[in-house]
Symmetry: C2
Subunit: 464 residues, 2 copies
C-alpha cells in the first residue's frame, strides 16, 4: 500500500468525538484515547514476562508473580488491594522429557512434553508398540485386546473448517483432556497426544490431562504436530509391531500448596456491595512466559481499573480486577473466588474473563444468553462499540475461572472477552508463548474494549 | 486457556452448513471449506517470497515474478491468462544509505532508507543543520530564512487514537509523500522523514515521495522512529546549529521500462464482457520480500479464482485476478489496466483491491457508498457474511490500483478489502515484511471472504 487517506475512519473518529453527543459515546472515546495514548499494560506485560517469566501453579515463580501483582495494583492507588488464600495444584515437570520413535535399530528423537497432571514414566522410560486412534470412541471399538500393553497415540487433527479456532480446540481437546483416563481403562501403558493446534510445527503444546479418581494413572505427553505426522506416516507404511515409541518423563503431582488470587478494586459509590469484575489467570504453563496465556489477560484486567481511574470515572458499583491462580493446572483459584463471594454475600452483577489471548478484540460472548438478551444488548450497545470494531455481541462461553460464580447468584451475567482467534493456537502452551508475539495496540484495544463494556454495565445494567 | 467447547461457534458452523438452506449460504460455506481445507495461497506466497523475493518495479526480480505468476495462473487452467504491457517506473536504490547525527565531534549512525523516487545526495553525502517540523504548514510559518540550506526533519508521529491504523498513516503520510517537494520551495537541501509507523523500532520504513515537475529535487530519506526520537531529543537539548545531519544515498530514477500486469480470468457464462475483478500489486519495495505488501494480495487474488473453479462454480460474469505492476513506485500498471479496459469496451461491474496486508478479514469498504447503498448491502449480505466475521461493510477507500477504473464506467463499484489493521504498519515497507510474518489461516480467510463477495456480486449485482 502506497498512500491513502481512509476517509471513513477519520469520519468515525470525528463522529465519536464530536457529532454524537451522548455521554456514553463521549466516555467510550475517552477510554480509548486514554489507553491508546497512555496505555501501560504492554510495559507491565513486559515485566511479567521478562522479569518473572513462567508462573506454573505452585511454583516459586508463581509466588513472585503474586507479590509483584499486588505491588503493581497498590501502585495504582486502587481503593483496595488484597490477596485471597487458596490451596492450589502443585504439579512439577521434572527433567526435560525424552521422546523417540523406535523403528527397529533406528531411534528418531521427537519433540514431546508431559501433559500437566501426568504421572511419570518408569525412571528408565517406557517403550511399547503404538496404536494410533482418532477418537476416544475408537478405543471401545478396538477393545482391550488391541490396546493392552500399548501406547495409545491420539492423532485427530484440528478441523480447519471452523472459523474460530477455539471451536477446533474444543472439538479436538478431549484427546488431551480425557485420553489418558480413557486409554488406561483398556490396558494402555501410556498415551501420546497430537498437539492441539492446526499449525504444523515442531513444538509440543502442553496442557492438562485428567485421570479418573479411582482409575489407573498412565503417563501422557503431547507430541508436536510434525512428529505426529511423521509417526502416523511410519505406522501407515510399516506393520504395527515394528514401530515402537519410547518416552521418559519425571513429572509428578505434589500436595496442594498455599497460593493466592490477587484482587484490586475501585469501590462503588452507590452500590459498594455490587460487583462487576474482570479477570484472567496469573499462573501459566512452564514452557515459556505465559504471554498470551494469560499474561495479556491479567495485565488487561488491571489496566481496565487504571483506565477508569485515569478518566476520573466514579463507578456506581464496585469494579474488581481479579488475577486467578491455578487456572491451567486445576482451577482452584477460580473456585475459591466464587466460594468467598458467596460466603461474603458479595452480589456479583457481571464477570468478564479474558483468557483467549491479547489479540485484536472482536467483541464479547455472553453465557446462556437468550435471543431477547442478545437482541437488546445489540440494539442498545453495538452502535456504541462499532467505531471500535469490538461490537460482536454473541452467545457463547465465559471462561473456566468465572464459571464457578454461576452458582453464587441466579442473575449474574458471565462474559467472555473475544479477541481474534486465528493466531492463538500457533503459540498456545508452547515455548513460543513469549512477549515478542504480543502486539501493543492489539493488547491495548482489548483493555479499552473491556473498560468500555464495564462502564456500560455499570451505568445501565444488563437487564435486556 | 485450558479447555473449552465454544458452543456458539459450533452453532454457527451448523447454521451455515445445515439449517440455513439458502443457496447463497451453502455456497459461502463451500467456499470457506475449500479454502480452509485445500488452500494453496500460503504455499504460493512462500514461493513468491523465498524463491523470487523483492520485486521493485522495473527490476529483474519483478520480471521473474511476472513470468512465474503467469505460469502459476496457467497451471490452474483458467480460461485465459495474459500479460498487459505497461511502461513502468524504474527507480533504483543504489548503495546502502548512510545516515548520521553529527554532534560536534561525535557521529551517531542511524537507520535510514532513501524514499522511493528520491534523487541521490552528492557523491560524498550531504551534511547540514537540521530543522525539525511537524507539518507541511509549519514550513510556511518558519519561512525561507529559517529553512534555507538546512535539512528539514519531518517528525510528526502517528496519532495512536485512530482505531484503524490506515487512518494514522493517511494523516501522517503527507510528510513522506509531499515533504521533500514542499521543503525544497523554502530552500531546504534535504529531507528526512520519521518512518510512518506507530511502532518504536529501528527500521526505516521506505515509500514514495513525489517532486513537483518544475520544482527543485532534493534528496529525501526515511529515518527509523527510534532514531527520530533520538534526533528530536538531541535537538531539544542543544542549540540548533550544533546538531547536524549527514546522509548519503545514490538512488536514481531511470527511464521507464517495459513490464506487465498479469491477468487471469474465468469467462462469464452469461455476460462474458462484464467483469468483476480482484487484484493486488505484484511489485514491492526492495527492503524485504513484499510479503504483506502485497504478496498476500496477489496470492489471494489468484486464489479467489482457484476457489471458484474448485467449487465448480460457473460465474455469470467474467471474473478476473489482476496482478498490477508499479503500484509502489508510480501506479502505471493500474493506470494501464483502466486504459485498456476502456479501449476494449470491457464493462467492469466491480473491482476489489487487496492491498492492506494478509491479516484476518474484517469486511469491505465501498468507495463513495451512499447511505442507501450501505443500508441495502448490509441488509442483504451481512447476515451471510457474519458467520465468517467478515461482515463489516462500510464506506471507505478502494485502492490506488483500481481507482483509475472509476473513469471507465459511471456505475462501477470500487471496493477495498479490509483486514485487521493493527499489525500492518509494524512491518510496512521495512526489512520485516517477510513471509514469516504472515499467518496461514488469516491469509486463507481473506481469500475466502473475497471469493464470497465476488460470488454474491456475480449472482445478485450491486444495485442497492
Amino acid at each position: 500500500m502506497k498512500f491513502k487517506l481512509t476517509l471513513f475512519s477519520l469520519l468515525s473518529i470525528s463522529i465519536a468525538t464530536a457529532s454524537a453527543q451522548s455521554t456514553d459515546s463521549l466516555m467510550l472515546r475517552k477510554i480509548y484515547d486514554e489507553e491508546l495514548v497512555n496505555g501501560q499494560c504492554y510495559q507491565n506485560l513486559h515485566y511479567l514476562c521478562k522479569n518473572i517469566g513462567q508462573r506454573l501453579s505452585g511454583s516459586a515463580n508463581a509466588q513472585k508473580a503474586v507479590d509483584w501483582s499486588k505491588k503493581l495494583m497498590e501502585s495504582y492507588g486502587f481503593d483496595r488491594v488484597f490477596l485471597q488464600e487458596a490451596m492450589v495444584t502443585h504439579w512439577v515437570r521434572g527433567e526435560k522429557e525424552v521422546g523417540k520413535i523406535i523403528d527397529g535399530e533406528k531411534q528418531i528423537p521427537v519433540a514431546i512434553a508431559a501433559l500437566g497432571g501426568s504421572v511419570a514414566t518408569p525412571a528408565g522410560g517406557l517403550s511399547a508398540s503404538v496404536i494410533e486412534v482418532h477418537s476416544l470412541g475408537e478405543l471401545k471399538d478396538l477393545g482391550e485386546a488391541a490396546i493392552k500393553g500399548k501406547i495409545v497415540f491420539f492423532n485427530r487433527p484440528f478441523d480447519p473448517r471452523f472459523i474460530e479456532t477455539g471451536s477446533a480446540y474444543g472439538t479436538a481437546g478431549d484427546q488431551r483432556f480425557a485420553g489418558a483416563a480413557a486409554a488406561a481403562k483398556f490396558g494402555a501403558v501410556g498415551v501420546i497426544v497430537r498437539s492441539l493446534t492446526e499449525s504444523i510445527d515442531n513444538y509440543p503444546h502442553t496442557g492438562t490431562t485428567r485421570y479418573d479418581a479411582d482409575g489407573v494413572k498412565i503417563p501422557a505427553a503431547a507430541i508436536s504436530t510434525m512428529a505426529a505426522n511423521q509417526l502416523s506416516n511410519m505406522l501407515r507404511l510399516k506393520k504395527l509391531p515394528v514401530i515402537k515409541f519410547y518416552f521418559k518423563q519425571s513429572c509428578q503431582l505434589l500436595p496442594d500448596v498455599l497460593s493466592y488470587n490477587v484482587v484490586g478494586e475501585i469501590k462503588g459509590s452507590e452500590n459498594p456491595n455490587k460487583y462487576i469484575i474482570v479477570g484472567g489467570h496469573l499462573d501459566s504453563w512452564d514452557l515459556a512466559e505465559g504471554a498470551h496465556d494469560d499474561g495479556t489477560g491479567v495485565m488487561q484486567s488491571v489496566e481496565v481499573l487504571r483506565i477508569l481511574n485515569a478518566t476520573g470515572y466514579k463507578p456506581k458499583n464496585t469494579i474488581r480486577a481479579v488475577f486467578f491462580m491455578d487456572e491451567e493446572s486445576g482451577g482452584k483459584g477460580g473456585a475459591k473466588y466464587a466460594e468467598l463471594a458467596k460466603a461474603n454475600n458479595e452480589e456479583h452483577i457481571a464477570a468478564i474473563e479474558t483468557d483467549e489471548g491479547g489479540f485484536t478484540p472482536r467483541g464479547f460472548s455472553f453465557v446462556d444468553a437468550s435471543p431477547a438478551f442478545l437482541k437488546g444488548i445489540n440494539k442498545n450497545w453495538s452502535t456504541l462499540l462499532a467505531p471500535y470494531e469490538s461490537d460482536r455481541l454473541v452467545a457463547g462461553g465465559g471462561g473456566s475461572d468465572i464459571e464457578h460464580l454461576k452458582a453464587t447468584r441466579p442473575g449474574i451475567v458471565l462474559i467472555g472477552f473475544r479477541p481474534d482467534s486465528q493466531r492463538y493456537f500457533d503459540i498456545h502452551h508452547t515455548p513460543n508463548d513469549v512477549f515478542e508475539n504480543v502486539n501493543k495496540r492489539e493488547l491495548e484495544l482489548g483493555a479499552a474494549s473491556m473498560a468500555s463494556l464495564i462502564y456500560l454495565i455499570d451505568q445501565h445494567g444488563l437487564n435486556f
